[in-house]
Symmetry: C2
Subunit: 347 residues, 2 copies
Amino acid sequence: MNGEPLTKRRPITIKDVAEKAGVSQMTVSRVLNKQTLVKAATREKVEAAIAALNYQPNLMARGLAGGRSKLIGLAYYNPSPSYLSELLVSALKQCRDLGHHLVIEDLSDIEDALDTSAIVERLRTIHLDALILTPPLSGNAALLQLIEGLGIATVLFGNAGGGGQSSVVFDDAAAAHAMTEHLIAHQHSRIGFVRGPDEHPSSAQRAAGYEKALSEHGLALDEQLVCHGDFTFRSGMAAGEVLLGQTVPPTAIFASNDDMAAGVIAAAHRRGLQVPAQLSVAGFDDTAIAAAIWPPLTTVRQPIAEMAQAAIGLITEVTGEDWDGQPLNRVNDIIRIVERESVGPPA
Amino acid sequence: MNGEPLTKRRPITIKDVAEKAGVSQMTVSRVLNKQTLVKAATREKVEAAIAALNYQPNLMARGLAGGRSKLIGLAYYNPSPSYLSELLVSALKQCRDLGHHLVIEDLSDIEDALDTSAIVERLRTIHLDALILTPPLSGNAALLQLIEGLGIATVLFGNAGGGGQSSVVFDDAAAAHAMTEHLIAHQHSRIGFVRGPDEHPSSAQRAAGYEKALSEHGLALDEQLVCHGDFTFRSGMAAGEVLLGQTVPPTAIFASNDDMAAGVIAAAHRRGLQVPAQLSVAGFDDTAIAAAIWPPLTTVRQPIAEMAQAAIGLITEVTGEDWDGQPLNRVNDIIRIVERESVGPPA
DNA sequence: ATGAAAGCGCTAACAA
DNA sequence: TTGTTAGCGCTTTCAT
């Protein structure tokens, strides 16, 4: 009687499942959301129907009706490619395992960095369950304040922020301290340093770790040996040129990230210097590039993948029913020096 | 400082705009969707109200009611990090300009590569407007067929597929041919080649370009000089070891991507060989790593960023009202050899 | 050129 | 433990 057209395959909805299982939509919804108020026998019937029909809930409808969109935003601003990919790959994997989806927001081109409202406007439309802010956004107080008004759960990545938000951070100062000591242990006393950009709070922390190690070992801080970079290969190369062009150049250079360290090595090679025979170079992060250059780079590992995983985990907690509203903070302080071949004793 | 209140209790809806402008919701909707059936005066009133209220449409509601979610999926499987980041950054930028959002799907861990249905199930829930498939997914016929059943617009990236889908491709064979000729022009006659993995259709095309150039110049194809890699730095290094360990090693090695070329250079350095004095090395893609190693890599540029931009543009066309249903194909055949310092004449 | 009504697929609140 | 009733914010269809 009702000649259902075979050609038009209507997507399976919760209604179809309910009919097939002989229950109401609500019961199906409860099963889907793993609520406990369903009798085991009923649950099984529903699960069978779901499997039989190969039903997939509609994310949009869920987001509209419920509030949870299962969408997590990940916003970044001018990241280092290697840092970004490691972060993404890990976050994505964890999202899949937890049934979330990641919406990437590249905020790099926002003209006026102070007009953070442009960022916020863009985020508002998407109805994110939660948002992950990576450095340097996670260190931008004005932005943080604006986002708070959005009322979406936020997790800061790499910077702790004011303390009001949940965060996943790394002990940058301790790591830089450890690497500096590593260099000192290799008999270096003139150790150059390439700072990161000021808008990254971790830049100052890494510099602090470097300075602390120096002074602890009775080494004077020579401002001549400190250059500024912006985390790019190019800036590392420029810093290397400057440092190596001095009358008494350093015997070792510690760059605040791997990309810049690779740049320092390139600058050394360009001057015909052997690494590590004539110059030791150390990096920071242990991203993919560290093992993809010659000589392979000695660096401090920043566990980006683990931190990304933790960030997604935090979001699950923070968006969960039984969250008490207190910000959750995870600080990763497992420091590991990855010894490869770019550090040795001075000539 | 902006005077906007930071906390908005109730989000602004289309209804608020309609009231403020003194029109119906429908008129506002028409203005939002740039329909032509609105009188200029009315449109202006509505636009003023939108601006005054700082209204942002709700993506979820739009997706549910309409069908267009403004969400574009980008799926990948075990990509090279540098390839991925260039692709992402460019696609993201174009998305922002066109008002779309990118939902990244990392399919790398799907256990059974043949159980493509697992991929499809995951994609079904999200209600994507369109999907971009990157290599090697774009070359997976079984997957393509399954996705066709989903009825969402698909754009193949890097591989043309069977011809039924829209695509953005690069002329890999021509590029490999050009690079091989570049090496021959530098007097090389024993040119090693590192192939890409077989699941990437472009691997065969790049090999074909290499072989064609060889035979056109009267050079015999020596199977001993061809190694297989999987696009990773590590595999390039292994291939380099093999090639360089032969009794009569090649004087130049052409790797099918930059990561592998970097590996070949590392293998050469490990053996104490100077590049390019004792061995020339050429890469493919011109990704970030090419300029971040020493010596900087001579490579063929694959315009990933432009292609990504084109892909998003194609999606806008293909999901637009006035699309005739015919697959659109863009093939990028602007080949450019980026000469840096890893290629020179043989010793 | 504009408006009214009816859902899209789902979940929150309340009943039973 | 389960079902019923309303919407979520928007776009469709059909009026006007």
